[in-house]
Symmetry: none
């Protein structure tokens, strides 16, 4: 079964935004055993949309479109689809109800423009949008299906997972696909690929290995295609056993695990609480932990001790230590850890101090110099890391490295 | 002059990588006054490449392709293009020389596979790749031109800037382009578009208005196309004057301004310092401010007071106030503000307390209930906001709203 993804919006064609929806949808369709043969981005113009969809209907059985469903006059998708699939524009009461709920919740009046978002072609089956105002639409023509989704990523993803997946799951002509990811941290991609040269050479031809690098490490994803789920699972199991042995010291989790998720799970399982003292990471570690639902069970709080007065005042770092060794030193981080354990009365602590850049570097402490400490009431570990020159990347790498250090400390106790 | 961008590679179609080349090239072409009418991603298959290029040659004058030029057997681009544009495969001596240089530098032997990268269709003008092993290729057919570039982003970008731009600069039919963005916060897209209905109707036909929503508000981008930069600037100036008058209360900045950038600029100009007390935003406000280089000039620090013990212990919030009014209340936020100003000895303070969800909601305080406070030593402002049901989005909305409230407070003093 062949599919195409069509993203609609001028902002993509002028390079204003990077189209992340296509990759996300392509990955989900691949998981469902549907072959994506092309992704296409076009302008939000009625004729362009009509032509593109009309051409795709000749070549694929499934078309997923995103975007062009906003309330403004520059959103043309539903008009183009109404021309192409026929019918007339009618009001979808259920969507109108949902839209009014959103506006009343925000205490805003419902304008004609908003109401108009609930208007869809009579030739489609609407999908109510629980997180925004533009409904999704499902159209059929001969043996092909088109599903139109909003362009706002979180609305699109919710609608895809809750409403589109159940529709696609019933389609015929899908291949079986089994995926399994092993998530590593602390080893460079080139070293991984060198270690895995023979492994890759020996892999069955129906299995693919992908290296997916990100701020939370490198995800190694195995994808097996075939007809019998059972035998695919067997293949993946055999291969993952080998990978687990080879890469053991670098593996922190599997599949959707991220370092914040893994660390939170370890703390919850042990009923332990954590607090954080951040300097160069500026609150990013706290943000990573509190992004996860239920984090209040295990996260007590944090201090962003950017100015030294906060390191001394709130965390009780000795000002002589800062004067002698500098704020970016193992001695300062050590006292930050003590301060966190005391002030926040927690079981585990993280403390980070470094020079994120671009300014602030010296000859003996260049930009990227970072001290990362983790502690329990029993142990304290402080490591020195030399990161790069890019502020954003340094903040991310310092934060995820700190979480990985904590993960190792918890496992060791 | 119409252009299309064609990215070639299976990894895009299975969602393994996000195609960032398209957005980068689209932005450069737009700046050069070339209209990108579509971007397309297809598999690295000879027939798919042949068909896609053949179709595009009928509809656009310029095609830029990336990818499918690697040394391995699964890179098909040059074979497909040789079939399509004619000629035979010949060795390009200059590229071979360049490739051998790279390998001798790395102290590696030159294999037949590597040598084969210097082989190109006789129907193209090759572009030597100074940063990798795959040469670029320029083809002509009738009035259309195709430029094939490597898929490795930094190789592609260097080749585009050094070799492709000079070629495109001589093309006829390019238009001048002038862009200007007005960045708003605190007004929904539908209300903006209602306010701007007449404005859009009255806009000159060579100017486009785009609504670009993001977590930092909605960016209104004016793009003017024409022949004389001077008159385009004049048009944009006239239109922006009108927009500035109509939308004044919602405008926080222009072009690349974000709320963290604008707030940081206001504080730096006034030589004022800020600190933050965060509950539901969990450190994200501190992260947004400290992401910006030089933030240590104006950001003293923050407390993530997730557990009530931190609100009382570190910020000195009265536990009776929490018991009586709850942690998510204007009374608690008011005392958090006082605490920040006192503990951090700063000029401005932000405090946020809310229910990010998905759990923690009650009938009188549902998920999304958020109190946002900003204060100086003279004034304190606390507002109630009802956000949505999604944790990530609530954290973002609360953080950017807080920054916008602070922006308004600073302006009012």
């Amino acid at each position: 079964m062949k599919a195409a993804i069509l993203t609609i919006g001028d902002e993509i064609l002028i390079g204003q935004i990077i189209d992340t929806n296509s990759a996300w949808i392509a990955s989900r369709l691949t998981d469902l055993g549907i072959d994506v043969v092309q992704t296409l981005s076009i302008a939000d113009e009625e004729n362009a949309i009509y032509q593109a969809v009309n051409n795709l209907l000749q070549t694929v059985e499934l078309i997923i479109t995103t975007g062009g469903l906003g309330p403004t006059s520059d959103d043309k998708t539903k008009y183009a689809l109404c021309n192409l699939f026929g019918g007339r524009l009618i009001l979808h009461e259920e969507s109108l109800h949902q839209i009014s709920l959103i506006f009343s919740k925000r205490g805003l009046p419902l304008t004609e423009t908003n109401k108009n978002q609930a208007v869809v072609p009579s030739s489609c089956t609407p999908i109510v949008n629980l997180y925004g105002t533009a409904p999704g639409m499902v159209f059929h023509q001969n043996n092909s299906m088109l599903i139109s989704l909003p362009g706002v990523p979180f609305e699109m993803k919710e609608m895809f997972n809750n409403d589109v997946v159940p529709i696609l799951a019933h389609l015929e002509g899908r291949r079986e696909v089994v995926r399994y990811s092993i998530n590593t941290f602390g080893i460079a991609e080139s070293f991984l690929s060198d270690m895995l040269t023979d492994f890759e050479r020996a892999m069955p031809s129906n299995v693919r290995l992908a290296y997916l690098p990100g701020p939370s490490g490198i995800k190694l994803r195995l994808t097996a295609f075939g007809n019998s789920r059972e035998s695919l699972h067997q293949q993946i199991d055999n291969l993952s056993v080998i990978l687990n042995e080879m890469l053991n010291p670098y593996i922190f989790g599997y599949n959707d695990d991220t370092l914040p998720i893994v660390v939170s799970r370890l703390l919850r399982e042990r009923n332990k609480k954590i607090a954080v003292a951040e300097s160069c990471t500026g609150g990013y570690i706290s943000h990573l932990i509190t992004q996860i639902p239920g984090s209040s069970d295990l996260f007590i709080g944090g201090v962003v001790a950017y100015d030294n007065s906060i390191k001394t005042g709130v965390l009780g770092v000795n000002s002589d230590v800062i004067a002698t060794h500098g704020a970016v030193s193992s001695q300062t981080v050590s006292q930050m850890l003590d301060g966190v354990l005391r002030v926040f009365a927690c079981d585990y602590a993280i403390a980070v101090s470094g020079i994120a850049g671009p300014s602030g570097g010296t000859t003996d402490k260049p930009v990227g110099t970072t001290w990362i400490g983790v502690a329990s009431n029993k142990n304290q570990r402080i490591e020195h890391f030399t990161l790069g020159n890019l502020r954003d990347i340094n903040i991310q790498r310092a934060a995820f490295t700190a979480l990985n250090e904590l993960r190792k400390l918890i496992h060791s106790e």
